[in-house]
């Protein structure tokens, strides 16, 4: 009888969880659409920028590269391999098929 009771309890809980998952899916779609509306709004687009000092304030003392690229641009980071003298080689490869990529060097010095 305990197993029977547990079975009923589980079925009810699963129904409840299914409903909650549906609600979550719906809410995610809403928020995604809302973000799209806000970011593509012509009144907001000209104001969607950060200043150089904003970025420098987030990454103190680092050399920074700001990359602006068309949607879908592929960024590949090969797994670093040790070359001579145990020096690892780190690379970033950017490839666009739609338009040019802009890279800005922000050197805080």
């Amino acid at each position: 009888r305990e197993i029977g009771d547990r079975l009923i309890e589980l079925k009810s809980e699963l129904e409840d969880l299914e409903m909650r998952e549906c609600v979550l899916d719906q809410q995610r779609v809403w928020v995604q659409q809302s973000i799209k509306n806000v970011t593509e709004d012509s009144h907001n687009l000209p104001l969607a920028y950060v200043k150089h000092e904003d970025i420098c304030g987030c990454f103190k003392d680092d050399t920074l590269l700001a990359v602006r690229a068309p949607s879908g641009t592929q960024l590949d980071v090969p797994i670093p391999e040790a070359v001579q003298n145990d020096q690892r080689k780190y690379q970033i490869h950017l490839k666009s098929t739609i338009g040019p990529i802009d890279v800005l060097l922000i050197n805080q010095d």
Partner: protein, 152 residues
């Protein structure tokens, strides 16, 4: 008993999926709040200054940032049409997207860390649809942990 065990497994799977989806929703909510606050800040600054900042002093969204030590030597090769870049670094680097930068700037009201003042919470709640306000309230004190149910 076998059916009970199967349902237990299913229950666990669903709970994991719901937890993951709540995390994704949390991230989307942060994005919306951060973006709106950025636009508000810039609008207020431009109105105060009476003009927009010079174009070469700002970076428009979306962007990504690559950061590395200032001692790193970076070698850059660019194709003629600028469709392709290859960077070689002699040291480690990190890559962050614009939303991460906005969070570090404080544009997400501290919600990403679960630390949000009452004033910032009030402002953050006003930037999302009413149905999502309970999420924002809960994020103010930590990540969403309860399986939260709001009206569809």
């Amino acid at each position: 008993a076998q059916e009970c065990q199967n349902l237990e497994v299913e229950r666990q799977r669903r709970l994991e999926r719901i937890k993951q989806k709540q995390g994704q929703l949390q991230e989307l909510i942060l994005q919306q709040i951060a973006f709106k606050r950025l636009v508000q800040r810039n609008r207020a600054a431009e109105q105060h200054a009476g003009r927009a900042p010079p174009p070469n002093s700002v970076i428009n969204l979306p962007f990504i940032i690559v950061n590395t030590s200032k001692r790193t030597v970076i070698d850059c090769s660019i194709s003629n049409d600028k469709f392709e870049y290859l960077f070689n670094f002699d040291n480690m680097f990190e890559i962050h997207d614009d939303i991460e930068v906005l969070k570090r700037m404080g544009m997400a009201c501290g919600l990403e860390a679960g630390r949000c003042s009452p004033e910032d919470l009030k402002e953050a709640r006003a930037l999302v649809p009413k149905a999502l306000e309970p999420y924002v309230t809960e994020m103010a004190t930590g990540p969403i942990t309860n399986v939260y149910m709001t009206g569809a």
